[in-house]
Symmetry: C2
C-alpha cells in the first residue's frame, strides 16, 4: 500500500462541511485501490485570522512543503476583507508551490439541468487551463493620494516569457493527449496593448511546435459569448490568470454544474505539492446548515488521485458521480434535491 501525506485545509464556511465528504470518498476508493492517506489537518482560515491576525502561521508552508498534496475546501468569510483572506492563504500557496496551472473541467452531465436549451450530455466536454501564478493578480501597484478626490490607483499586470510559456506548454501537451487536439487561446490584444499581444506571440510561436494541434484564439469578450452560444466548439481553452478565472466560473454555469465543479492547482514538475479545491467558495449564506453540495470537493479528490498517478481510482470517483447524477441519486438543494451534504457523500462512497 502506498501512503500519501495530504495537508487538509477545510478553511471557511461550507469548506468545513464538504471536505469531510471528500475524505470519506477518497478513503472508500483508497480501500478499493489499495491507496492510503495520512490526513494532516490545518485550521488555516478566517477564524484563525480573527484570533491571531494571520490566516496561517508564518512557517505554514515550510511544514507542508514535503507533502504529497493539499486538499482545500474554501477560503473567505464576510467579516474579513476578501483580498486579505485570499492573499493570506490561497494565493501564497498557489505561488510558493509553483502551482502555475489551474485545471478546470467543464462537462455537461446526464441528469443535470443546464440553463441552455437544446444541449445534450456529451455536447460539452472541455478543459480550462488557467495561468495561476502571475498576470493580472499581482502585489505590484498602489494608491496615490489615498482617500482624496485626486486619488490615482495603479495595478500592474505582469507577464513573463517563462510564466506564459510554461502554462501554454501544459495546455498544448494536454490538447495533444485528447482526441480532438484543439486548443483555444483567450486574449484581448485589441484592447490591452502590452501584455495581450505578447501572450498572442507566445501562443503563435509555440503552435509551431505542435503542427498536429488545431489552434484558434478569441478576444475574451466574444469568447464568453461563444461559451454560451457554442460551448461545443471547445476542447482545451487556455487563458491568463484573470481570463481563466472568469471562464472557469462561466463554463460550469453554462453546464449547470457550478456547485460540482472541481479544480486542480498543479505544479506539473512535482517539485512541490499540488492543491485540489472545488471552484465554489465558502458560501456564507448556506454555511453551517449541512446542505452544501460536496460533489465539487469529491471530484477535486479525483483530480488529486489522477495527479498522484492513480487514474483508475480517479475514474472510479468520476464514474460514481456520473451514476449518481444520471440515476437521480440523492442530490442537494442547489441541484433541485433535498439531500444533505453527508447523504450525498455517503451515496458516492457506497457507489464505489
Amino acid at each position: 500500500t502506498k501512503t500519501y501525506k495530504i495537508a487538509v485545509i477545510p478553511g471557511d464556511g461550507i469548506g468545513k462541511e464538504v471536505v469531510p465528504e471528500g475524505i470519506r470518498v477518497l478513503e472508500a476508493v483508497g480501500a478499493k485501490f489499495d491507496i492510503a492517506f495520512q490526513w494532516d489537518e490545518k485550521d488555516w482560515s478566517c477564524e484563525r485570522w480573527q484570533a491571531t491576525g494571520r490566516m496561517m502561521p508564518e512557517d505554514a508552508l515550510e511544514g507542508i512543503r514535503g507533502h504529497d498534496g493539499i486538499f482545500l475546501g474554501a477560503v473567505g468569510w464576510p467579516t474579513v476583507p476578501d483580498h486579505v483572506s485570499l492573499w493570506g492563504l490561497l494565493i501564497p500557496i498557489r505561488r510558493e508551490f509553483r502551482q502555475y496551472v489551474n485545471l478546470r473541467p467543464v462537462r455537461l452531465f446526464e441528469g443535470v439541468r443546464s440553463p441552455l436549451a437544446d444541449r445534450a450530455p456529451g455536447d460539452i466536454d472541455f478543459m480550462i487551463v488557467r495561468e495561476n501564478n502571475e498576470g493580472e493578480y499581482s502585489e505590484m501597484g498602489g494608491r496615490l493620494n489615498k482617500g482624496t478626490p485626486d486619488e490615482v490607483v495603479i495595478q500592474e499586470n505582469i507577464f513573463t516569457r517563462k510564466g506564459v510559456d510554461r502554462v501554454l506548454r501544459y495546455a498544448f501537451d494536454l490538447a495533444q493527449s485528447r482526441p480532438k487536439k484543439h486548443l483555444t487561446s483567450a486574449t484581448k490584444s485589441n484592447g490591452i496593448i502590452h501584455t495581450m499581444p505578447f501572450w498572442d506571440e507566445c501562443f503563435a510561436a509555440m503552435a509551431k511546435d505542435y503542427p498536429d494541434i488545431r489552434t484558434d484564439q478569441f478576444h475574451i469578450d466574444i469568447l464568453t459569448a461563444h461559451f454560451v452560444q457554442h460551448p461545443d466548439w471547445f476542447d482545451v481553452v487556455v487563458g491568463s490568470n484573470l481570463f481563466g478565472d472568469i471562464l472557469s466560473d462561466l463554463g460550469p454555469a453554462v453546464t449547470g454544474t457550478i456547485g460540482i465543479a472541481p479544480s486542480a492547482n498543479l505544479n506539473p514538475e512535482r517539485e512541490f505539492p499540488s492543491m485540489f479545491e472545488p471552484v465554489h467558495g465558502s458560501a456564507p449564506d448556506i454555511a453551517g446548515q449541512g446542505i452544501a453540495n460536496p460533489i465539487g470537493q469529491i471530484w477535486s479528490g479525483a483530480m488529486m488521485l489522477d495527479h498522484l498517478g492513480h487514474p483508475e481510482a480517479a475514474r472510479a470517483i468520476v464514474a460514481a458521480i456520473e451514476r449518481l447524477l444520471a440515476e437521480k441519486g440523492p442530490r442537494t438543494r442547489d441541484m433541485g434535491g433535498t439531500a444533505d451534504t453527508v447523504a450525498v457523500g455517503k451515496a458516492l462512497a457506497d457507489l464505489i
Copy 2:
C-alpha cells in the same frame, strides 16, 4: 427643423454595409419627427492605414469636435494588428471626447431565439454601464528583454477617483430613473488587490447618496455565471472598462442578440460629440456579401436620437425593431432568416 451634423465612420468590413442602413432608418424617422441630418462621411479605416500609415488624419478629431454626434460602423481588419487599428481610431475617439460611459442594453426580444431554456421576453431587460476611458485599457507599461527568454511585460491598469466616480454617478442616476432602482457592481477585489478594492470603496461611498437604490456587487467570475443562470436579477450593471467589455458581449449572447446589440459611447456633459456603434465588429468572414445584420447599427441610431434629445423618435425605431422581430419580418442569416442587409434596413424604414 433641427439639423444635426453627424460624423459618419463606416470603418471596415460590414461596417460599410450596415451604416447605410442605419442612415436610411434615421432619415425615415427624421422625416416623421422633423429632424434633419447632415452626414459628414469619413474614410477612417484599416484601408486608409494601409494606404497612408494612419487610421485617420492627424487633425481628424479637431475636424469633428463641434459635430453633434459620431455614427460608427466597425473598426478592424485581419491584415492590420488589432491593437494598431483600435488604438489608432476607436479608443482615441472615446478618450479625446471624454466618452467615459459606454452604455449597452441587454434585452430578450419576442421572436428572438435565446440560447437559454425557459426564458420569456420581459424576463431580461437591463443596462450595462461600462467605464470607457481608463482602467485596464492603458498605454502604460511595456516590454523588457523583448523577444528573449527573459522577457517581462507589464501592463498598468490605472483607475482614478474622478474616473471611477463619474461613471458610477452616471450608473446610479440611471438606476434611479428606472422602476426597479437596482444597481449591481462588477468587481474582483478578492484577486486584484489595488484597483478593485478601490472601486468597491468608491461604490460603497456613492451608494450612501442614493438610499433608495438597492445595490449589490459580485466578483466578475461569478457575475458571468449569474448572467447565464439568473439574467432576470439585473437592472443596471456597472463595471470597469474590461469587465464592462466582457459583460456587454456576454449579455447579448445570453439573449441571442449579439448581432443586434447597440452601444452608446457617451460624454454625458455634452462638451464633445458622443459616438454610437453596434457591439459587433467588422466580421471579415461575411464582409462584402451584403448579408450582415444591420439592426445593431440601426438601434445605435436610436440611442443617438435619445442622446440628442429625441426620445420619441428613438422609441419609434426600437418599436419598429420589436415589431420586425416579433412579427417574423425579414431577418438576416445570423437570426435564422435569408434576407440581406438592405432588405432588413428597408423593412425597418417602412415600419416607421
